[in-house]
């Protein structure tokens, strides 16, 4: 890894804007969605009402968080039809663009944990607690069991994701302390701790992402110069290797459900290895094996 900052080569190659365009697009998306929600209470312009668990846009479009709908169903309560329609629309959308697009393009906690990851890199903090990235699925299962066992949305009492978004719109109260705790946890205790290891909301959306259409793909993986910037910047670096290195004859499409389609790998790569594409056409033979690539590089 170079001692320069991550993405320095990409900035040199494409300029600062060119090397941050997906990051900027994501921030615009996250802040734009938040602004839409805030326009009502702050400016009296009611385009969107509610919050990320359920919202009503222009009094026609219901959008429901399918994860919370699932919890409600497990408490043996049958919601109104509107809630089901909203969940179907949301599910269809994420099936199209990628399950964890919620995490990187919508969820407000992402900005907090991205800031934590940035600070961690700047301070050069290494190591910390180790928990398997599979922990989130255990926690997801636990939250569903809790809903069924207590008959209440027990997880929603403490869920930092809904708590933060609701708080920004309806009043934070002490939720700021929970969010600060998540930030500090990610900085000092565990790299990508909350979003990458523990959050059951992300885990739920990753299950949607198992079959979703839009994927990041390392189509130019032959051009990779092993600068490792993509691995350093990626919040789920384990998803890159099979596609980039062709492990077990894998194709260039990042098939792992935990890729959030954040596009940071596209931004920081000076060789333009990554692009957004679809899950189809994932042929291993499109690109050369690492061995051939090495030979090509030596020429």
């Amino acid at each position: 890894m170079s001692t320069e900052r991550i993405g320095a080569e990409a900035v040199a190659a494409r300029g600062w804007l060119g090397a941050h365009k997906w990051l900027l697009a994501r921030r615009a998306s996250q802040l734009g969605i938040l602004t839409l929600f805030l326009l009502g209470p702050l400016a009296g312009v009611w385009i969107v009402k509610g919050n990320l668990t359920f919202s009503y846009t222009l009094d026609v479009l219901p959008l429901t968080d399918p994860y919370i709908l699932l919890q409600t169903l497990l408490t043996r309560h049958l919601p109104e039809a509107k809630a089901f329609v909203g969940a179907a629309i949301v599910l269809a959308f994420y099936l199209l663009v990628g399950g964890r697009v919620f995490c990187s393009w919508v969820c407000p906690v992402n900005m907090v944990t991205d800031a934590a990851a940035w600070l961690r890199r700047r301070l050069g903090i290494k190591g910390g607690a180790h928990v398997s990235r599979g922990a989130r699925y255990w926690i997801l299962a636990m939250t569903l069991v809790l809903a069924a066992a207590t008959g209440t949305l027990a997880w929603e009492l403490v869920n930092p994701v809904s708590m933060f978004h609701r708080g920004l719109i309806f009043g934070l109260g002490a939720a700021w302390a929970v969010i600060l705790a998540v930030f500090l946890f990610d900085v000092f205790v565990m790299k990508d701790g909350w979003c990458g290891h523990l959050c059951p909301v992300g885990a739920f959306y990753s299950l949607v992402g198992k079959v979703s259409l839009v994927r990041t793909a390392a189509v130019q993986r032959a051009a990779c110069n092993d600068c490792m910037d993509c691995f350093a910047v990626c919040p789920e670096p384990q998803v890159i290797r099979p596609a980039l290195k062709g492990v077990d004859a894998a194709g260039p499409v990042i098939a792992d459900a935990n890729c959030t389609n954040c596009g940071r790998c596209i931004d920081v790569c000076s060789k333009d290895v990554f692009v957004f594409g679809t899950r189809f056409g994932n042929k291993a033979d499109k690109v050369s094996s690492p061995a051939q690539k090495m030979a090509a590089a030596c020429k």
């Binding site: 809630a83 939250t143 008959g151 009492l157 708590m163």
Partner: protein, 293 residues
Amino acid sequence: MEAEKPRKASAAAAARRQFLLDSARMACGVGLLGIGIGLYAKQAKALPPLAVRPPGALAEKDFLGACIRCGLCVRDCPYDILSLATPDEPVATGTPYFVARQLPCEMCEEIPCVKACPTGALDHKLTDINQAKMGLAVLVDQENCLNFLGLRCDICYRICPVIDKAITLEQQLNARTGKHALFIPTVHSEHCTGCGKCEKGCPLEVAAIKVYPIELAKGEPGKHYRLGWVEKEKAGGSLVAPDVQHQYNLPEGMRYESGKGLIPGGEAPAVPPGSAAPGTQPAAPRALQGGKL
């Protein structure tokens, strides 16, 4: 080849062992977290008495499973009385409530908060706001209520949107002066919607009348209790055999008079005073007969 087999087997055993260990680690760690949240959820089921749920809210234990904390009821309330609980408040995080003493429910005829609810946590079957049961007003402090002191405050009665049904004024003798009346505000649970207007209107420093959750406010008689007069009315007549007329067996030439005992004398009435012949009404005390004392 011979050595390969046991090595493979031991590798598989080690992998299995590792898998079981990892699973146990996760199950125990996450289980601990889950127990913590579960117990917290159990505590959070208790709604503090001063927080009132919007109209149509399901019973609290069902409400906490049905409400997804989206805040649409908050948004559609034209009087902005509802708010979503923040984590530091004693109401389940994110759920809607109002505090009657601050801002009571205005009982909109359209009930927009209920219509906005996407899950039915606010029951859409509630279409007449007068049927709402957000809570029940209780005149908790009879020592400080101005009407109980004999004054004509009457604010809770006058301000009640269901006046003369949910709250009535019941006359009693003012024992302090001996000649005035007390007008006692009396809540009737059948009609009270729990809107909290009375609590908001009470002019005392701390309200003497408060809206409480119905299960706190209301008593309940045993399932087997029957009110004799109600049952009698239902049946259209007495359900028990009439009392057997008491017979005195007095010595000859004696009569009995209440307070005096046996009195010798000829003209003993066949029926002693205070009892009645079968088929006639017993004599009421003179004071109640409208006669002069």
